[in-house]
């Protein structure tokens, strides 16, 4: 078993939500007319503040919940379709912080997964995820990092075409996060993946499309590159006297934002920086840093959510 994946022609939408709404028994409207499609072979991240409806969407895709309105398709199949089980067998799911059995070993859990998927090599998977020496431990006895590895190993056992990842690194210590992220990087390459996360650095590192949900609605669905291109470029400046720098920038009609020991101002570095720098230096401000700043996903996310 390898963590790497087979390739396929990117023609069909692997994940498609069509006007999906979900209202819980309690009356909470978790999703409100959500529509988006993830083509095969695309890695998308699903972002949004708490309560935005991310986990509900994953639950709908895994067939555990039924939409109140609209339709959800996984590899072209609805949960009620006869072909849905076959679609699920081509999908690996990493749930968010599942509980761990105290009477089931790692090997037994993987063997159950192999039976239900109808394929997979348990021993090779144990080796690929560094779980061999923990194979006969009950799940509850595994450390947080190894628990997450096991969940990931279960999702990848049958070498699925689609991966649904619900906050796969949440709650892990930095070392375990780094290890799991490295596994994810390899596992997601070449697969269709929907990564639900709060970690914007992780989302930026692992995906190329962004879906931002807020209040149960799709706020943004675009390739990360398009989103970046649309974002306002900024220039980072730093000077020995930060107060004086800020004052000089304000005097030129710019609104600086704090960024560590420097300041960010809107502007295209190639076009605006030379004149700005000349003016600042001429005005006696000792600028020692001036560079363009590519907008981070965090900035894009905050701009979208606050808009």
């Amino acid at each position: 078993m390898s963590v790497a994946c087979a390739t396929f022609a990117p023609t069909v939408d692997a994940i498609w939500a069509n006007g999906v709404s979900k209202r819980y028994r309690t009356g909470t409207l978790a999703l409100d007319g959500v529509s988006f499609a993830i083509p095969e072979g695309t890695r998308a991240c699903l972002l949004g503040p708490n309560g935005a409806g991310k986990s509900t969407l994953i639950r709908l895709l895994e067939g555990a919940l039924r939409p109140t309105a609209g339709e959800v398709f996984l590899l072209g199949e609805r949960a009620d379709d006869p072909g849905y089980t076959a679609a699920r067998r081509r999908t690996g799911i990493v749930p968010q912080g599942p509980g761990m059995y105290r009477d089931v070993t790692a090997r037994e859990h993987l063997e159950l997964a192999r039976t239900l998927y109808g394929r997979g090599d348990v021993d090779a998977t144990l080796d690929a995820f560094g779980l061999r020496e923990h194979a006969d431990k009950v799940l509850e006895a595994l450390s947080g990092g190894f628990r997450r590895r096991l969940v990931l190993a279960t999702a990848l056992l049958a070498e699925p075409d689609v991966l649904l990842l619900d906050e796969p690194t949440v709650g892990l210590d930095p070392v375990a996060q780094h290890d799991v992220r490295a596994l994810l990087r390899t596992a997601m390459a070449g697969r269709t993946a929907l990564l639900c996360t709060h970690d914007l650095r992780e989302a930026e590192e692992l995906s190329e499309d962004v879906v931002i949900l807020r209040g149960g609605r799709v706020l943004v669905h675009e390739p990360l590159a398009t989103l970046r291109a649309r974002a306002r470029p900024r220039i980072r400046l730093a000077a020995a006297d930060g107060e004086r720098l800020a004052g000089a920038l304000r005097a030129r009609g710019l609104e600086p934002a704090a960024d560590g020991d420097g300041l960010l101002v809107p502007g295209d570095a190639q076009r605006d920086a030379p004149a700005l720098l000349r003016a600042l230096l001429a005005g006696g401000v000792d600028v020692y840093e001036c560079r363009p700043v590519a907008p981070t996903l965090e900035q894009l996310f905050l701009e979208a959510v606050r808009a």
């Binding site: 599942p98 009477d103 239900l116």
Partner: protein, 243 residues
């Protein structure tokens, strides 16, 4: 292998490893089906007993000899209690604990439907109940046959009552599964669901005369279990199990 079969094997293995589930599933029916009734059975044979005279009794009691009362009223009551309680108790281990500990998330992530998971769990409860109670019932009914207290037909009816009680309790366990989020609620609901069935049991056994009472009792148990199952399917969404 079908998903339900694979999940059933896993459920049975887990129930087998659960000390609490096993002790409850063997200890309680052993008390109800063998330990308590056998001395009574022997007592009936050892000493002559009479029904009170001049006291108005329901038809099921009035027409019976003390021996018949044991076979057709007292022992069926024990059989019903055992049959109703074993799946209900096991359900708190197999089903409610899974929900409480959030381990269900691991199962739902696999290519299997929630309905299959529930089906496997309920089948496991039924199988566990049958495996532990039928041999115990066989011990006592064999003793009844040896001492001439019951006819083979009555013994067959007692097995029917036990099967009906197990089936009804499994249906109740399904409702319990969807409604109870934790052990405490599960135990409270067990009481709420099982108590009326026990009252109904005593009513049927004491009101219906002759061997027919066991048939009527089994039918009523199956009807109540079926009603619980249908009500659960109709009004309680499977999604509740995930909340």
């Amino acid at each position: 292998m079908s998903p339900v079969r694979a999940l059933l094997r896993r459920e049975l293995r887990q129930l087998g490893r659960s000390r609490g589930a096993l002790l409850s599933s063997i200890g309680f029916p052993a008390l109800m089906l063998v330990v308590i009734p056998i001395p009574q059975l022997l007592g009936i044979r050892a000493t002559a007993q009479r029904m009170p005279e001049g006291v108005p009794l329901p038809p099921g009691l009035a027409s019976s000899r003390p021996e018949d009362l044991f076979v057709l009223l007292l022992y069926p009551l024990f059989v019903t209690i055992a049959g109703l309680m074993v799946p209900s108790i096991a359900a708190t281990y197999a089903v409610v604990s899974e929900r409480e500990r959030r381990t269900l998330e691991l199962l739902i992530a696999l290519p299997v439907r929630l309905a299959d998971i529930l089906r496997a769990k309920l089948l496991a409860l039924l199988l566990l109940g049958a495996t532990t109670t039928f041999p115990l019932l066989a011990i006592t009914t064999t003793a009844m046959l040896i001492v001439g207290l019951a006819t083979p037909f009555q013994v067959a009816l007692l097995f029917g009552v036990l099967a009906a009680a197990l089936t009804a309790a499994t249906c109740l366990a399904f409702v319990l599964t969807l409604l109870a989020r934790d052990f405490r609620t599960a135990n409270n609901l067990n009481g709420v669901l099982v108590l009326p069935m026990l009252v109904m049991t005593f009513a049927v056994l004491s009101l219906v005369p002759g061997d027919a009472r066991l048939v009527v009792h089994a039918v009523v148990l199956l009807a109540l279990g079926g009603a619980a199952l249908l009500a659960g399917l109709r009004w309680i969404s499977f999604e509740r199990y995930l909340e």
